[in-house]
């Protein structure tokens, strides 16, 4: 295998089969009769030696198993079942697994540079339905979830007005304010952990457990501050914090 830093034609193909070309700097590796090119824009291009055209195998974050080399540039990206990758180094790893003579770290760029590559937005090759029954049902599902989470958050003013004039009359406005901003704080703050979990595992368990917690909290706040508190469940700050 020969490794070189070279220029190549970068060909972008959208899902309608339209393509555009531009010249860009790339890492080029030659294996047997195939040439693999890892471009800076995260695209892995495969060229068959006998064919003069590059066909776009996949653009990051997608790397496909080798398709039959096409004689035409016009093909649809949607026809591949593509496992996505996040790091261009993974694309390299996939093309040249470590343990093989070509394996190991190929990137001559510094770590920070490759991190910049990761951060680069690159949604080309990702197919968005932009509509359709399934997509709008998801919007409806989100609507429902936001109804119960953000709707509750928007109601905090009403809760606060009620509770600060009934149960917690004796406390400062600022103290009661703290309790309710804790709710908003947790909603957004705990998201720090929820977001990456969503990216990795999808929404199913997150939404399910979230639903249970929201319903439970509404069920309990009635007991915390209602007119008939449970014995030993007196109206006090700790209970509200629990809510």
């Amino acid at each position: 295998m020969r490794k070189s830093r070279d220029y190549c034609w970068h060909i972008r193909v959208d899902h309608k089969g339209n393509f555009e070309q531009e010249k860009e700097r790339a890492f080029v590796a030659h294996i047997q009769n195939e040439v693999s090119v890892l471009t800076l824009s995260h695209s892995l291009l495969i060229q068959h030696q006998n064919i003069n055209t590059f066909s776009l195998l996949a653009s990051m974050p997608y790397v496909a198993p080798l398709p039959p080399v096409s004689h035409s540039n016009r093909f649809s990206l949607a026809q591949f079942e593509l496992p996505p990758l996040q790091d261009p180094r993974d694309a390299w790893e996939l093309a040249f697994p470590s343990g093989t003579p070509y394996g190991g770290s190929y990137f001559s760029t510094s770590d920070s540079e490759s991190r910049n590559l990761i951060d680069k937005p690159f949604d080309e090759g990702v197919v968005f339905p932009e509509g359709g029954r399934r997509a709008w049902l998801v919007v409806f599902g989100s609507w429902c979830a936001l109804f119960s989470s953000l709707g509750l958050m928007n109601t905090m003013g009403a809760f606060q007005a009620y509770i600060s004039t009934h149960q917690l009359k004796h406390l400062d406005v600022a103290v009661v304010g703290w309790i309710f901003s804790l709710y908003a704080f947790l909603t957004f703050g705990a998201g720090l952990f929820v977001g990456p979990l969503f990216d990795k595992y999808g929404p199913k368990w997150l939404v399910l457990s979230g639903s249970v917690l929201v319903v439970l909290s509404m069920d309990l706040i009635g007991n915390c501050v209602g007119q008939y508190p449970f014995p030993g469940f007196d109206i006090s700050l700790p209970n509200l914090y629990f809510f």
Partner: protein, 292 residues
């Protein structure tokens, strides 16, 4: 706390999953989903107001719990992921993504917006009561604000997809600052002034929930949308935590006069405007007229 964590588990995925299905029309779809929050903000206070006098506070919260149960059921069934996650995707948060200036400026902007947003949401009821409005009018103000916010969530999203997400977000912030400085401050004590403010504020501030995730989504690839978005909003949450009590302290210091509080809200929006404009210019290489 239970409710807060539960909301977190519902909130981030429901925004991020729309990014799986929509790109070109993401602003619109996110806006429509976000109207859910506004409808909740209309219905729940009404339940508290109407059900509590005839039965008890306990039963109004039970009713809210029942509604949540039904809606969460729908959410669990319908929210199916589309884009596959990366095999290298980490389940742990990382603050390294903040090193991108356009992203961190956006975060700062959203921080200031939310810092201010929850102050009117929390105090508008007490404000109108202190201005001598009757109890029923005071509790109607919040639903009115949320009616404005229904339109404020989906309309900007629709236009944002056409004219650029950041452009429309900046426009909405200008409108919000206008409604605070030029309507709430001088005319808030009159009934029409209060209602117009509530509508206009709801309309213009709704975008800070529905449009900001789409703005953030423009800065990252789709399979990291959840991470970017939630990192942004977890930093913003510090603003949520401190904004309302800070406003409460301003209020206590002024002896119950709301002028200082209103100026504080307006100031935050002005700061948010600067941060957002800067982030947009940075992301577009200082090109003023581009759709972004």
């Amino acid at each position: 706390m239970l409710g807060g964590i539960g909301s977190a588990l519902l909130f981030s995925p429901s925004i991020a999953i729309i990014g799986h299905y929509f790109n070109r029309r993401r602003g619109y779809a996110t806006g429509i989903a976000a109207t859910g929050g506004a409808f909740g903000g209309i219905l729940y206070p009404l339940i508290i107001q109407l059900v509590t006098p005839s039965t008890s506070f306990l039963w109004s919260t039970k009713l809210i719990a029942l509604i949540s149960l039904i809606l969460c059921g729908f959410a669990t069934v319908f929210m199916q992921p589309l884009q596959a996650p990366g095999p290298t995707a980490s389940a742990w948060p990382s603050l390294l993504i903040l090193r991108r200036p356009a992203f961190s400026l956006t975060v700062l902007g959203v921080f200031l917006l939310e810092f201010a947003l929850f102050v009117p949401l929390t105090y508008i009821t007490s404000y109108s009561r202190s201005m001598g409005f009757s109890s029923s009018v005071s509790s109607a103000v919040l639903p009115v604000l949320n009616v404005g916010s229904v339109f404020g969530r989906c309309l900007p999203g629709y236009f944002a997809d056409i004219y650029g997400r950041y452009n429309i977000a900046i426009l909405a912030i200008i409108l919000t600052a206008f409604s605070v400085f030029d309507i709430w401050l001088p005319f808030g004590h009159t009934p029409p002034g209060l209602v117009i403010f509530a509508l206009l504020f709801g309309l213009s501030s709704g975008s800070s929930i529905s449009l900001t995730p789409v703005c953030v989504g423009q800065l990252c690839p789709v399979e990291q949308y959840g991470r970017y978005y939630s990192t942004c909003f977890s930093i913003v949450s510090i603003g949520c935590l401190t904004g309302v009590p800070l406003a409460g302290m301003i209020l206590d210091a002024d002896g119950g006069i709301y002028r200082g509080l209103i100026l504080f809200v307006g100031g935050c929006y002005a700061g948010g405007l600067v941060a957002f404009t800067w982030a947009r210019l940075m992301a577009t290489n200082w090109r003023l007229k581009s759709k972004y």
